[in-house]
């Protein structure tokens, strides 16, 4: 769905598993055009205490196992934190589990 304000984009963010222990499971969020995954994570880690520690090993360095999907595509295969965002994007944040 296109945003009414041409200079802004609206994203849907969904979180899963342990990320839900520090943030909402689903939210919509607006950014100026030109926003990237880095912009989004800066906003989310500022908003939700503890999320930064869960997601980042060091500033600018995501923990390996943090999967961020933009419309189903892992940002590892796109432009990592520089992956651009568009109006209507759905971003999924999920830490896979390993036990059996």
């Amino acid at each position: 769905m296109m945003n009414d304000r041409q200079d802004h984009i609206t994203l849907t963010v969904k979180s899963f598993a342990t990320f839900r222990e520090v943030m909402d499971a689903k939210l919509t969020i607006d950014f100026p055009k030109g926003a990237t995954i880095r912009t989004l994570l800066a906003e989310l880690t500022g908003k939700y205490e503890g999320l930064g520690e869960l997601m980042f090993a060091a500033p600018e360095t995501l923990r390996d196992f943090v999967n961020i999907l933009r419309n189903g595509r892992n940002i590892h295969f796109l432009a990592e934190l520089d992956t651009p965002l568009d109006d209507g994007d759905v971003i999924a944040l999920f830490p896979p589990v390993a036990g059996g």
């Binding site: 969904k14 899963f16 839900r20 390996d64 196992f65 999967n67 036990g99 059996g100």
Partner: protein, 241 residues
């Protein structure tokens, strides 16, 4: 042709997928890698459903701390080889199937022979290095691989079809941290049961599989989500570039 005993034993599921579906299960040969929490639920439901040949692989012995979730075993099994105890239990549940216990650790050297002759691989492993090894071999042998994993009250399932879906490395590019993972037994029951249902659907050619999609189960909040995951276009295994 199903025997009278088989028609009676499988009566309630033949009404779901027909006698042809039951015959397909009876002819199938599957590998279940890992006889722990997930492997217990997978093996019990696959054996009960009449999957004809089950090769069960694990290298461990039963420990008391396994018993909160590994429902193939009883307290009296502590100290026994898992696959031996499991085979006894599965044959007792369904004497009409073949159970092949294989007590070994999965390695790069033996993984190919462990998959020999199998139609389907079910992932009941507890770590990603072994999963990547097994999933890679299954992909190369063109054998579907049903992935499951759990932590606490969370779980995930996806079905990988070589040449069709993304590979496991694309679905989960980096392994989560290893170590003693907390697990509620019922979570392995839920996820392992879904894996067994995927196997039955695949083998009887019924329904829609979790292909290119991952089920994310959140038992803590009573929520299930399905996310679509696409492959890395540059992946040497499943990419398109």
């Amino acid at each position: 042709m199903l025997s009278k005993e088989q028609k009676e034993r499988y009566q309630r599921q033949i009404s779901v997928f027909g006698e042809d579906g039951q015959e397909a299960l009876g002819k199938a040969r599957i590998v279940i890698a890992g006889a722990g929490g997930l492997g217990s639920a997978i093996a019990l439901y696959c054996a009960a459903a009449g999957i004809g040949h089950i090769r069960l692989i694990d290298c461990d012995t039963v420990e008391v701390s396994n018993l909160n979730r590994q429902i193939l075993y009883r307290t009296g099994d502590v100290g026994k080889e898992k696959v031996t105890a499991a085979a006894t239990d599965l044959r007792s549940l369904n004497p009409g199937i073949e159970v092949e216990p294989v007590e070994t650790k999965i390695t790069a050297e033996n993984v190919g022979s462990l998959l020999d002759g199998s139609d389907l691989v079910l992932d009941g492993l507890d770590n990603f290095p072994a999963r990547y090894l097994l999933a890679h071999a299954a992909w190369n042998h063109k054998i579907p691989f049903i992935h499951g994993a759990v932590s606490g009250m969370y779980g995930q399932v996806t079905t990988i079809i070589p040449g069709v879906t993304p590979c496991l490395q694309c679905m989960v590019p980096f392994p989560p941290p290893s170590g003693a993972i907390p697990i509620i037994g019922a979570t392995t029951g839920i996820i392992g049961s879904i894996q067994a249902a995927e196997a039955i659907k695949y083998l009887t050619r019924r329904g829609v599989l979790f292909t290119g999609r991952m089920l994310l189960w959140d038992g803590l909040r009573g929520d299930a989500s399905v996310i679509t995951i696409e492959h890395d276009p540059a992946c040497h295994e499943c990419g398109t570039e």
